[in-house]
Amino acid sequence: MRIARFLLAATLLVAGTALPAFAANLQIDGAGATFPYPIYSKWFAEYNKLHPDIQINYQSIGSGGGIRQLTNQTVFFGASDGPMTPEQMLAAPGKIFHFPTVLGAVVPVYNLEIQDELKFSGETLANIVLGKITRWNDPALAKDNPGVALPDGEITFVHRSDGSGTSYIWCDYLSKISPEYKKTVGVATSVNWPVGLGGKGNEGVAGLVKQTPGSLGYVELIYALHNQIPYGSVKSLDGEFVKASVEAVTAAAGSATGKMPADFRVSITNAPGKGVYPISSFTWLLLYENPKDKQRSKIMVDFMKWALSEGQKFAPELGYAPLPKGVVDLELPALAKVKVK
């Protein structure tokens, strides 16, 4: 019964989202990560104002689902918070390009009755997640926060229960810091968490952290900013404690520009440089190099050019960090390689 009801609802939903397409002359479908959904929908709406005959639809079904649908060619473009794995690239029927669109960051949030703002080094965060640091007055935390009176209480770690690009970025950073973390937890959108509680979505994690005294969790920077949740600063590779901000995240991408691989599948967590926030990441839009439909391909390339130039100005107001100019300059020639005829 329940499944039958679900199928009916799904059919109605699909029919409902397809309807507006009749109004436009050309429709392009994409699917993928939930993290960039706000900026993508803003971009598609703005682009539609410039080109009223073109309608780009985006379903935020998750990075994994986006990659799957792109591989099955049920959508024209995909989007992911983590680069595709070599196995995933091989499974696709054609070569897929990764294009960084904007940047995001993940911040540690906590619920502790103290006035001072907390600082975290990567090792401390890794050991908390691994269950090796269990109390707030642990010497490692005291070392990160000299002069702060840390209470004696148990740390409850709160993580995402749903598969998420946010978890991917968080684990990617901690794996770079701690070899043990890399071995026992690893990097993925869903992992086998050694300790802690799981909350569904950014709002689930934030809700649990707000409710549970002595808890520590992680959410996207946008989420912490919009909801005024206090978050700690994190020690960068250069040894300074940096609080996440749009500028500090763009700085992380800037420091990676020089070593950017040709396919843009690069992690920029724990990047070197001054004022760099270490838990930062690109989010990627995925396109086939040689799509069958050249008409849509031409439009997507035009859209991407617009998004990488004009479109970037919408990023900060939505809490994303815009790409540094160096990265955009590398992307434009790569974009020219997508076959449009």
Binding site: G62, S63, G65, T189, N192, G198, L208, Q211
Partner: protein, 321 residues
């Protein structure tokens, strides 16, 4: 029933019968179709892990190792605890509404209990987070030390965990069990009660007799609630803590089969991973279908007993009284 017994073999009735028959068949075909697709979509995981899938505890999408025992444990533990909490209340409601409540109050009260079933589960989940979780945390902070030392009540005071999930489930299950149990009690022939009173039974004894008479149907009502609790997803996901561990503690965060599917399905890009999630869904489907079938069978047997013995005076009444 009367329709079929009448056997009016006109063309219209045959056409009508064919029409409703095919619609009914379609429902069965959908369920069978879903099961077949799920077997097909979980074959990678079934082939690779076999029975060890349900015996091992490590759920590691990164390493591609999947053991679903903690989810099975969490589902059964939370559902049975919910039943334990819900059954006395549901029976109390059923007895009150069918035997004790003043007549003019019965209809509105029945309506109100059944209204509980209409509340969306996500609303129950929010209520769980904002009301039950702080309540459970307070309860835990006031748990006496000797009790907190037992494996059933140990762990840090989080509030989130198995007990919170079971409490939410109990409230969600009550309207179902209570309304079916009330119907069952109503179906106990009045002659039974009269006979009990005639033998000098008190009101309490007469109610006990009615409960005993309807025991099969009441079991069915309880199991109907179990079927509902096993499959409940979002409300449980919001309060259970989503930690795949096997713990006896009511305060420990745990995980259920329905929750892990809801949580991890969208981001499961790897084939084996996806297959493992579908296999969990398949087992959940089988378990809930079996439980529901069994409960219907019990309820049906009860109503058949009633229609088969229209002269209950002939049956042994003294058994319960």
């Amino acid at each position: 029933m009367g329709l079929f017994r009448a056997r009016t073999r006109t063309d219209e009735s045959r056409f009508f019968r064919l029409g409703v028959g095919s619609v009914a068949f379609l429902t069965i075909a959908v369920v069978v179709g879903i099961a077949l697709v799920m077997v097909q979509e979980s074959r990678l995981s079934i082939q690779k892990f076999g029975w060890s899938f349900w015996r091992t505890t490590r759920w590691d999408p990164v390493a591609g190792e999947f053991g679903a025992l903690p989810f099975l444990w969490g589902t059964l533990f939370s559902s049975f605890l919910a039943l334990l909490l819900a059954t006395p209340i549901a029976l109390g409601i059923a007895v009150f509404l069918s035997e004790l409540a003043p007549f003019r109050w019965r209809r509105p009260l029945v309506f109100l209990t059944e209204l509980l079933a209409a509340i969306p589960s996500v609303v129950y989940g929010m209520w769980g987070i904002f009301v039950l979780v702080p309540f459970v945390r307070a309860l835990q902070l006031h748990t006496p030390a000797w009790l907190a030392a037992t494996p059933f009540f140990k762990g840090p005071p989080l509030g989130i965990g198995l007990l919170a999930a079971s409490l939410v489930l109990a409230v969600m299950v009550i309207p179902f069990s209570a309304s079916v149990a009330r119907e069952i009690l109503k179906s106990v022939p009045f002659t039974q009660r009269e006979a009990a009173y005639a033998l000098g039974a008190t009101r309490w004894e007469a109610i006990r007799m009615a409960l005993y008479y309807g025991r099969t149907g009441i079991m069915g009502a309880i199991m109907l609630g179990l079927g509902r609790a096993l499959g409940e997803t979002i409300a449980v996901t919001m309060v259970i803590g989503n930690n795949p561990q096997i713990s006896l503690s009511l305060y420990a965060p745990q995980y259920t089969m329905a929750s892990v599917i809801a949580n991890e399905f969208t981001e499961a890009a790897d084939n084996l991973y996806l297959n493992a999630l579908v296999e969990i869904g398949l087992v959940l489907l089988i378990v809930t279908v079996l439980i529901n079938a069994l409960s219907r069978l019990l309820i049906w047997r009860m109503s058949r007993v009633r229609t088969a013995t229209p002269q209950p005076a002939a049956s042994p009444v003294a058994a319960g009284a």
